[in-house]
């Protein structure tokens, strides 16, 4: 068991089933997704079958079962963003990244996720990259935004 996992389980030492969702959130915050091992580990800890945990985890949009890209792009598909053209924006993002929503690029740099509403409707259409907001994004700006992160990845190294 990884040390991070160990400390999460310690935090929920006497936990019951009501701690399941917070535990899954902690694991995902740590690992970026829910691995099979992590789910099995939580199951043993809470004395709940893994199938039941998957039942809960797959119900909620937040939980992912695949690794994320280094830069995680969330495109808001809320109503305000929709009427300001986020459908086209999503298409452009998918084209430029060469992945569909929910997938990660082969170089592991970007992952794309569609979210219901970020709650920044006045800035529509909005995309968020690792929590950094880009407001009133026009389709012709998408390339530039992606380049910013590509350059950042290069300068920080480790790709």
């Amino acid at each position: 068991m990884s040390r991070a996992m160990d400390s999460i389980l310690k935090k929920y030492r006497r936990a019951g089933i009501d701690s399941l969702i917070p535990m899954l959130q902690d694991v995902q915050a740590e690992q970026g997704y829910l691995s099979k091992d992590a789910v099995a580990e939580i199951g043993r800890h809470l004395k709940v079958p893994a199938s039941k945990i998957y039942g809960v985890a797959t119900f909620y949009n937040q939980f992912r079962f695949e690794k994320l890209g280094r830069y995680h792009i969330q495109i808001c598909r809320g109503t305000a963003c929709h009427v300001k053209g986020s459908a086209t924006l999503q298409k452009v993002l998918e084209q430029q990244l060469g992945v569909k929503a929910g997938q990660t690029t082969r170089d592991g740099l970007f992952s794309l996720e569609v979210v219901a509403c970020i709650g920044a409707c006045g800035l529509a259409p909005v995309i968020s990259v690792n929590g950094e907001f880009h407001a009133s994004v026009k389709q012709e700006e998408v390339g530039k935004i992606l380049d910013v992160y590509r350059r950042r990845a290069e300068s920080e190294g480790g790709v």
Binding site: I17, L20, Y60, V83, G119, A120, F133
Partner: protein, 586 residues
Amino acid sequence: MSEKRKILICMGTSGIAAGATGVARLFEQELGKRNLADGFQIIRTGDRGLFRDVLVDVIEPDGQRTTYEYVKAEDVVPIVEEHLIEGNPYAKRLAGKSYHDFFKSQMRIVLKNCGEIDPEDIEAYVMHDGYSALRKAVQDDSAQIVKTVTDSGLRGRGGAGFLTGMKWKFCREAAGDQKYIVCNADEGDPGAFMDRSVLEGDPHAVIEGMAIAGFAVGASRGVVYCRAEYPLAVKRLQKAIDQSREKGFLGKSVCGSPFEFDISIMQGAGAFVCGEETALLASIEGKRGTPRIKPPFPAQQGLWGKPTVINNVETFANVPHIINHGAEWFASIGTEKSKGTKVFALAGKVKNTGLVEVPMGTTIRELVFGPGGGMLHKKLGLKGVQLGGPSGGCIPAAMADTPIDYESLQSTGAIMGSGGVIIMDEKTCMVDVARYFTGFTVSESCGQCTPCRVGLKRMHEVLTRVVEGEGVPADLEFLGNMGNTICSTSLCGLGQTAPNPVLTTLRYFRDEFDAHVHRRECPAHVCTTLMHYEVIEDMCIKCGACAKVCPAGAVTWERGKTARIDPAKCTRCNACNTACKYMAIR
């Protein structure tokens, strides 16, 4: 000691997105460099509800206030030098007329403190009458508190509009050793963000409202169920809870009385249906968030089977004001059956987008052309308004004089919902909007009832067909029948209202459906498969906006001449159509 001059910087999610953190730091640096830091108090507030990038206010000790909008890093030095030192306001970024018009026609009760105080400082809240209602309440008779809230006529701000005082009364009278107060902050309606702004801008008001509710019904535990998509709200709320515990507003002895109350936060995990109260409770208990049959209502059997009051953020934020100013004061605002104010999230094709708080009964037109400042594009008129999110409906411009209160909206087929108002102009396709909402509810249906799980999916398929120009006349009849069936056979509020966007657009915008099905065209020029990508000569104002954005070089344009699109080069990317503000490309 003379009072300090204040500099207010709006730092909610949208302010931070626009760069407010850097602006605030620069102010500190620049004042520090000039040895002026002692004369000023820099206050980092929540968002004020109007999106103007970074908003900065300078307030003199005598209350005189100067507001700057769209402040960028390079404006900080001129503001410091010209205004703070020389005393002449820096004209370039002074807030304009539309900023002041936005606030002029509002009545701010719930949003009173948002953008005015530092949400991370309990003292600021206390200075603005904070926790005075709670102090007063715990000295009072708890039955009297319930009566005051009932008499005020406050109704749930989360959607259904149930009388808050009645909910409290049922819970108070229910037998149980342990009772709970739950705050629904799972603001899932796409297009609504008032709860986020209140939690970010004035979290103590929600805590105070919950504690008063706890005292009134005899509950000692509170839970705030907040969306995980709102990290800043969660952080500020947690900080506020810790501070109020430290100051004795929460804990074993609230305000020195024998009343015990404490609050914890549970983060939602992204499920729209968890806004439904029984689904929300299931989620807190660590289960899949599926609604259950009512009765028993949560007021009798809620969290862990115990009597539970569930209200939303805005409802709780109203409570301290009612206790402080009395039921009569609150009941004097609004209409006969809908009391008080309502916060609306104004968005879409309108000039000023943001949070607007107005008395109940204000008309849609007043909202759009008052605080909204009118339509976004001069040439594109108001076509309709979508109210209440995926459970709500679209009202045509012809009905814009409908007063916004629970009953009036219901009679149009829309609902108050949580207060999302999306303004749509002539370049918004109503069929596409109907399909959009159905797509949303398809992915958010919990799946336990067949009509909602399967029926919505079928409706979405048919709408997709219509939008793509493959619709047949029988499709429209199918949509109406299926919609009504889902409404009458689903278990929870989500299913019962999910067809509303389709049913209302069918009722009010039938001609647009007909155009898609019979003539294979989209009158709003939105549905891309129905586009021909040709310029309509009469509509073109020869501005060349389309030519500038075309990535394929398919548009030819010269100054003073109508643009032309070469079909051989056109890749149908729709960039020209998005750029055109005059409906000149079909």
